[in-house]
Every structure is written in structure tokens, then in C-alpha cells.
């Protein structure tokens, strides 16, 4: 029995009694995409928490100013996480060109594709409980694709507004001002940019709530792996095709 398990492809339970039917697995998310995803997730958590405390600082610390650097460390963490986010985003854009088809999905919407458009509305109906069966997609489903694309736009706004705000301290001659100073042509009073950057944080928090919920829900209801796919890169479809 033991040797049998060692030799045979396929899934058994631990006692070797029950055997799984064949499973469809497709490699979707390549390593750079997965790495980016988790670095991003971590950076966003750090950015949101530290960003919140920059807007509403913790209670004052006692002692001499020279002996404390609390706000300094919070801001440092925010800037470091922000710069990591930017660097990984640039690498991610590079990978959109180098990687497989699914590495490109985040960066454009195939609005000219009728099947895709149909899919957006189908998924919308699925989320409104209007259709019974979910569709399976190898990459993002069309509605998720729209959400991801919108999220990328938010992320781009957050990166540029963040760099612009960072340039306020770094100086008018800094690299950051050269890259993102144009934000101040749109928001001449940086107070407005601070407010929009802050609202952007809440937009991302909102996205995270929906993102995690949708991933868990799809993992269960659509009978395809979501969460583990972002770890292994492989998407597992749990049902065989009907003949």
C-alpha cells in the first residue's frame, strides 16, 4: 500500500483508502507576481497604519525631545514602506512585459473584447445573486479585472501624491519634486493633497476589505483556488469538465 502511494500520481487520503478524481491545475501567477503581491500587502499595512498615525499622532511622549524620536520612526517607516512599494511597482510593470498573459491583466481593460464585457456583467449578476453558477477563469474574472485595474489607478495616485508630499521635506531641488512636483499644479495648496492622500488610504482599506472577502468567497463558491494560488502560483479547478 505504502509503495503504491509513492508511485502513483494523484491524491489519496492519509490512510490510502480514498482517491481523488483528477484535478485541473494551471500555473497562473509567476513568482515575481506573487512576490509583488505579498510585498505590496505588507507595505500597504505598514503604510496605512503609520499614515493614520501621521495624521492623528499618538499621545505625547514624556521626556526630552532629544531622547525621543517616535514621530520620526513612524514617518521613517511610512517613507520606507512607500519607497519599497514604488520600487516593487516598477518591477511589477517590468514583469507585465516579461511575464505571461496573466501578468498583464492589471494594467489594461480589454473593453473591445465582447466576451470579456459579457463576463463583467455576468460576474456582476453572480454577485447580485441573479445567476446560479459562477464561471471559472484562469486569471482574474472580468469584474475582478475591473476592480484590480481601478486599484492600480488608486495606487498610482497614492504613489505620486506620496512622492509629492515627500518632496515637501526633501526640497524643491529633489528627485522627488522633479518626479511628482506636478501634483502641486493640480493641488496648489498642499493641504488638499494631504487630504486626498488620506482619503486614498481609506479607499485602499475599502479595497482590501472587498478583495479579501471576494477571494475567500470565490475560493469556496467558484470551486477554484484563490488564496493558495497567490502562494503557489497554481490555480486549482476543483471540478472536472462535464462531458
Amino acid at each position: 500500500m505504502t509503495t503504491q502511494i509513492a508511485d502513483v500520481q494523484g491524491a489519496y487520503d492519509a490512510s490510502g483508502k480514498e482517491k481523488a478524481r483528477s484535478l485541473q491545475t494551471i500555473y497562473v501567477y509567476e513568482a515575481p507576481v506573487r512576490l509583488w503581491h505579498w510585498v505590496n500587502a505588507l507595505a500597504i499595512v505598514v503604510l496605512a497604519v503609520t499614515g493614520y498615525f501621521i495624521g492623528s499622532p499618538l499621545p505625547s511622549v514624556p521626556g526630552e525631545a532629544s531622547a525621543n524620536f517616535l514621530m520620526g520612526y513612524i514617518r521613517f517607516a511610512h517613507f520606507a514602506a512607500g519607497q519599497a512599494l514604488i520600487v516593487f511597482f516598477i518591477l511589477r510593470v517590468y514583469w507585465a512585459f516579461m511575464g505571461n498573459t496573466y501578468a498583464r491583466q492589471l494594467f489594461y481593460l480589454p473593453v473591445w473584447n465582447k466576451t470579456w464585457l459579457w463576463g463583467v456583467f455576468y460576474e456582476l449578476r453572480w454577485y447580485l445573486f441573479l445567476v446560479k453558477d459562477p464561471k471559472k477563469y484562469i486569471g482574474h474574472n472580468p469584474l475582478a479585472h475591473v476592480a484590480m485595474f481601478a486599484f492600480m489607478l488608486f495606487l498610482v495616485f497614492m504613489m505620486f501624491s506620496g512622492m509629492a508630499l515627500y518632496s515637501e521635506g526633501a526640497g524643491r531641488d529633489s528627485f522627488w519634486y522633479a518626479v511628482a512636483g506636478w501634483m502641486f499644479s493640480i493641488f496648489p495648496n498642499s493641504q488638499d493633497l494631504h487630504t486626498w492622500h488620506h482619503l486614498g488610504m481609506w479607499a485602499i482599506v475599502t479595497f482590501v476589505i472587498v478583495h479579501v472577502y471576494a477571494a475567500v468567497r470565490e475560493d469556496i463558491l467558484s470551486r477554484q483556488s484563490m488564496i493558495s494560488s497567490m502562494v503557489s502560483g497554481e490555480r486549482l479547478f476543483r471540478d472536472d469538465l462535464k462531458d
Binding site: 493614520y52 495624521g55 492623528s56 499622532p57 499618538l58 499621545p59 505625547s60 511622549v61 526630552e64 525631545a65 532629544s66 531622547a67 525621543n68 524620536f69 517616535l70 514621530m71 520620526g72 513612524i74 514617518r75 454577485y127 445573486f129 515637501e168 521635506g169 526640497g171 524643491r172 512636483g181 506636478w182 502641486f184 499644479s185 496648489p188 495648496n189 498642499s190 493641504q191 488638499d192 494631504h194 487630504t195 488620506h198 482619503l199 488610504m201 481609506w202 479607499a203 482599506v205 475599502t206 476589505i209 472587498v210 472577502y213 468567497r217 463558491l221 476543483r238
Partner: protein, 361 residues
């Protein structure tokens, strides 16, 4: 007026100012502009040889706080010197001439110094009702402004009014008060915002223009970089308390007594570009933060409509309630989270209801 093309140096010597005082002024000004050691010599040379630039100083909708600030410029000589260095040919608030005589100077300057004079504007023109909300010399100020701007070399927009609009342009702006750069679009404009601008900043800008015969380098928003490229926050003497995380939490708390950072009290230093924390006011005596009150951001665009002076997070009142980014964003996130929870509940109920006895998986 008749001083014509007399040089600055001739004028001050005639007024009994010693050469020693003159060179002192040059080195002080060069230092305050952040220029190198040779600049003082260049400055002296320029003031000795170049003719004085005629300046027309006009007043639109404003409170004259810019003039009040300007005349208090504190370097020992600046008050006398600057008023002589430029040939201030017209300033309806402080000139001796009045009526038609005074107005005639405008026409004379336009013809005699076409393209050579500087138009300094304090305040702004209201455009509603054909500009009838500001009548100057019997006609709308906006007409006078456009006329004088047409032949000017450059325009200095003094203060928040001329630069951004200030209080008269705050919501709902009944007179449609409009900053200078939205009315005059074909001339170089130097914005010197502040309500009022710092006296030394004003005289510094004038000195730069007269010394070098060109405008100082301006930033994206049209402000001279030398005075407006850093925030109050960047050079604030309370900055170490900010970095340490030591804040005034209440106006009468221990932190307030110890001079902690006023960030939580709504200080606008982190978003305000001005020289207050370096040059300070009244001859370097103090500035708002030094006297225990946060910066209100008076040199920033539209600062009257950016919520309370005492809130850290800017008010967002489009929703008809007193909100800020945290309240609005938190509400959105909360509603979405509730929606997600409801969606999950419906999903679960539907799934249980439709579950068939057949095995799953």
C-alpha cells in the same frame, strides 16, 4: 517722480546716508537673500550705476496690511532705502498728491517708462457687475489694473489677495474677487503671498529686481524660490518636538507651557510655504508659532476655505456635516464592510437553502 533716472546711490547720498551705511545695507541684503560673498559688491555696483526702477503701487480690494508690513521692514536702513531705491512714483495710500494730479502720474509713467516700470498690486479686482465692487478714481479697479499692466515690465502681486484671492475670494465670493494672474495673463507675475507677506521678504524681492534687473527665480506657483521653497515646518524651532512625538494637546496643558509642537492644534506649518520660521516678524522678534499659536497658512492658496485653523485633518464639508478624511473614509470603509458582511450572510443562507444531500467535493 521728477527724480527720473537718478541712481539709487545718488538719492541716498543726497539724503545724508553715509557710504558706510550703504555698504552695510548691501552686505545685509545679500546675506538675507542667501547670496554668496561677492553678491554684496555686485549689489553695491548695481545700486550705484543703475537707474532706479519706477514702481507703480496700486490697491484693489484689500486691507492695506501689505503696506503696513512693508513700511515696517526692519533692517536699519531698509525703510528709507527701499522707498528711495525704487522710484515709487505712485501709491495712492501714502503719496502726497491727490485727485487728478495723482492719476495723471499713471498716464505719464505709462508713456515715459513703457515696458520699464514695475506694477506692484496690493489686493485684487472684483469682476462681478463689471468690476463695480471696487471703484478707484471713478472707475472700476479692474480697468485701471489692465491698463497699467499692459505697459509694465513685470507685476508684483503683493499678499494673499493679489496672489490667491484671500478673504474676499473665499466662498461664496460674492464680488468674484479674482487673483491677478487670472486677470493679467501676458506679463510675468511674481506672487509674494502672505497676509501680509513678511516685510523683509517684500523688500528682499524688490531689492533683487532692482539689483539684478530681472525677476527672481519662481517656483511652480509663481512665488520667489528664495523665500517660498521651504515650509514653516521645515525650519520651525519646535520641529524637534514634532519628531520626538511631543505635542500640545490642549491650549493650557503642560506641553503648551513647554513649547511642544502645535501639530495637533491644527498648525498649518507642514503645508505652508513661507519664511516666517527663519526671517520671523517685526525685525526677527517672533512669529506665530513662537508666540504659542499654530500657523494658519495665510500664504497658501485659498486658506480661508480649508476648514478650521485648529483642526489637524482638513474639514470636508461637502457632505453637510463636520467631517474630515478619517470620518468620510472611515464611514465608506464601514459601509462597505457592513455590505460585505451582509453579502456573506446572504451567500451563506442561499448556499444552505440550496444545498442538496449529494456529497460535496
Amino acid at each position: 517722480m521728477s527724480a527720473g533716472m537718478e541712481t539709487f546711490y545718488e538719492v541716498i547720498r543726497r539724503q545724508g546716508i553715509t557710504r558706510r551705511s550703504f555698504t552695510k545695507f548691501c552686505s545685509l541684503t545679500a546675506a538675507s537673500l542667501g547670496l554668496g560673498p561677492t553678491a554684496a559688491t555686485q549689489m553695491a555696483e548695481a545700486l550705484e550705476t543703475k537707474p532706479r526702477i519706477p514702481v507703480i503701487w496700486m490697491h484693489g480690494l484689500e486691507c492695506t496690511c501689505c503696506s503696513e508690513s512693508f513700511i515696517r521692514s526692519a533692517h536699519p536702513l531698509v525703510k528709507d532705502v527701499v522707498l528711495s531705491m525704487i522710484s515709487l512714483d505712485y501709491d495712492d495710500t501714502i503719496m502726497a498728491a491727490a485727485g487728478h494730479q495723482a492719476e495723471a502720474i499713471l498716464e505719464e509713467t505709462r508713456q515715459k517708462y513703457k515696458g520699464q516700470y514695475i506694477l506692484a498690486v496690493e489686493g485684487n479686482p472684483p469682476l462681478n457687475e463689471g468690476g463695480m465692487f471696487c471703484i478707484d478714481g471713478g472707475r472700476p479697479f479692474v480697468e485701471k489694473l489692465k491698463e497699467m499692466a499692459a505697459d509694465a515690465m513685470a507685476i508684483i502681486a503683493w499678499g494673499a489677495c493679489a496672489s490667491w484671492g484671500c478673504v474676499q475670494a473665499a466662498k461664496p465670493n460674492p464680488t468674484r474677487a479674482t487673483p491677478i494672474d487670472k486677470v493679467i495673463t501676458d506679463k510675468p507675475i511674481i506672487k509674494v503671498p502672505g497676509c501680509p507677506p513678511i516685510a523683509e521678504v517684500m523688500t528682499g524681492v524688490v531689492t533683487f529686481v532692482t539689483t539684478f534687473g530681472r525677476l527672481p527665480e519662481l517656483d511652480r506657483q509663481g512665488r520667489p524660490k528664495m523665500f517660498y521653497s521651504q515650509r514653516i515646518h521645515d525650519k520651525c524651532y519646535r520641529r524637534p518636538h514634532f519628531d520626538a512625538g511631543q505635542f500640545v494637546e490642549e491650549w493650557d496643558d503642560e506641553g503648551a507651557k513647554k513649547g511642544y509642537c502645535l501639530y495637533k492644534m491644527g498648525c498649518k506649518g507642514p503645508t505652508t510655504y513661507n519664511a516666517c520660521s527663519t526671517v520671523r516678524w517685526n525685525g526677527g522678534v517672533s512669529f506665530p508659532i513662537q508666540s504659542g499659536h499654530g500657523c494658519i497658512g495665510c500664504s497658501e492658496d485659498n486658506f480661508w476655505d480649508k476648514g478650521s485653523f485648529y483642526d489637524r485633518l482638513t474639514g470636508i464639508n461637502q457632505f453637510g456635516i463636520e467631517a474630515n478624511a478619517d470620518k468620510v473614509g472611515g464611514a465608506v470603509a464601514g459601509v462597505v464592510a457592513a455590505g460585505v458582511a451582509a453579502h456573506a450572510a446572504v451567500t451563506a443562507v442561499k448556499r444552505l437553502a440550496s444545498k442538496k444531500p449529494e456529497q460535496v467535493g
